[in-house]
């Protein structure tokens, strides 16, 4: 009985979704997909194991499939002895369809995207890079470096700073490996270490340029996940990269470089 009520609720959800006014497609589908997914998970947890339901014939109370490609279909009901309505499934299983629709926006909205913020600009081999001040863990002068054998080329080594073991990134090599030549290596004059958040990672830099207050509209934000996750965006006027510190730390922790 509870299965019957639950399936009726799901049908109502599905129908109301079909009848909903046009909204920005992405947000509508995202919200709907999430609702459906939660509902699906709850019902699947209650339901008995289902076999061959995909091929089950349509019975009374069936909702005919509508050619709306991205809207999640209704959950399939188990083939219980009671004559509960079984709905026709689409060709692709429900969970798979729900999983296929990726959220187009970034998962975590950074606080500095909401209003003005300060960013530290520094340079490496002539390339300017900016880091939001709120995500800056500190700045140290570059000291003695301990080399660890067998590490990636861009890993410069470990620098001891009081109780901390700072893992140093050869920033030029990490950011632009294709331009990193032997000549560049000899010309680089790293002087400072830019600490990334609360991590032990530090980006080596040559010069500290300035701290500038930025407005969100001065930045071309990276809107979609995918390539270059370490870039929060491009600062239009200065034409330089704004680093997404959390994403960069994730890449470094995995031993990945800019080409990952």
């Amino acid at each position: 009985m509870s299965h019957l009520i639950a399936s009726q609720k799901v049908i109502q959800h599905y129908l109301s979704a079909l009848l909903t006014e046009d909204e920005p497609l992405a947000s509508q589908e995202t919200a709907l997909a999430e609702t459906k997914k939660a509902e699906l998970n709850r019902l699947l947890a209650q339901a008995a194991p289902v076999e061959n339901v995909v091929a089950a014939p349509v019975q009374t109370g069936v909702v005919q499939p509508v050619a709306k490609p991205k809207v999640a279909p209704v959950v399939t009901e188990t083939a219980a002895p009671v004559a509960a309505p079984v709905l026709r499934e689409r060709a692709i299983p429900i969970a798979e369809r729900l999983a296929v629709t990726p959220p187009p926006q970034l998962k975590v909205e950074k606080a500095y995207r909401q209003g003005s913020f300060q960013a530290l600009f520094f340079s490496v081999a002539g390339l300017r890079i900016a880091v939001p001040l709120t995500e800056l863990g500190g700045i140290h002068e570059l000291g003695p470096i301990n080399n660890l054998p067998g590490k990636a080329d861009w890993f410069k080594g470990i620098m001891l700073h009081r109780a901390q073991k700072i893992q140093l990134v050869d920033t030029a090599r990490w950011v632009m490996p294709e331009k990193y030549t032997a000549t560049l290596a000899t010309e680089l004059n790293y002087q400072y270490v830019i600490m990334l958040g609360t991590s032990n990672w530090g980006l080596c830099c040559e010069l500290l340029i300035d701290t500038i207050n930025l407005e969100p509209e001065q930045i071309k934000w990276r809107e979609q996940e995918g390539k270059r996750p370490w870039m929060a965006g491009l600062i239009k006027e200065q034409k330089c990269v704004l680093v997404d510190v959390d994403e960069l730390v994730k890449l470094l922790n995995q031993g990945l470089d800019v080409n990952a």
């Binding site: 301990n146 080399n147 054998p149 990636a152 890993f155 470094l252 995995q254 031993g255």
Partner: protein, 164 residues
């Protein structure tokens, strides 16, 4: 009640084991190896090359009638070769049920480290030589790189060494 508290203290102590490490130097870095695996430390002596041996094998020495294979630790660590000096030592170790020698620039001291003082090395690089770095520690302002001797060679390489 006192038994309960002393039991807890024992657990805490056991959780933070103190280990002893023999430290040696290579290319201005200090490395540590488990003291339990070190049999002895020898002054540099002539190492006889073995034709057809792997490139990480320097050769063999005669240690009180026993043949001991000596590994080129610098090569193993991806470091450039260096001249032998008065401080050069051959550390005789036991690992993977074999006794071998490792050539080092110098041997320093035995240090005591608590488990809590040892951090994992950053997981970057897929180089073969990276796998035997067990961890790092800050010892009086100096970084100590801890080496897992058992992983200095892979299984195939250990087998190859044993047949020399």
């Amino acid at each position: 009640m006192s038994n309960k508290f002393s039991g807890q203290a024992d657990k805490n102590q056991a959780a933070d084991l103190v280990l002893q490490w023999v430290t040696f130097r290579l290319q201005e870095e200090t490395y540590g190896i488990n003291v339990m695996q070190v049999q002895e430390v020898l002054r540099y002596t002539e190492i006889a090359p073995v034709p057809g041996s792997p490139d990480y094998v320097l050769g063999i020495i005669n240690l009180r009638g026993n043949v001991v294979t000596v590994i080129d630790t610098r090569a193993r660590f991806g470091l450039p070769p260096a001249e032998v000096s008065d401080n050069t030592r051959i550390v005789i170790i036991e690992a993977e049920k074999q006794v071998i020698g490792i050539l080092v620039d110098s041997v320093a001291e035995v240090v005591y480290l608590k488990q809590s003082e040892i951090d994992n090395a950053p997981n970057v690089g897929t180089d073969e030589s990276a796998r035997f770095i067990q961890g790092v520690a800050n010892r009086e302002g100096e970084l100590l790189i801890l080496v897992d001797l058992n992983k200095m060679l892979n299984d195939e390489e250990w087998d190859e060494i044993s047949s020399i």
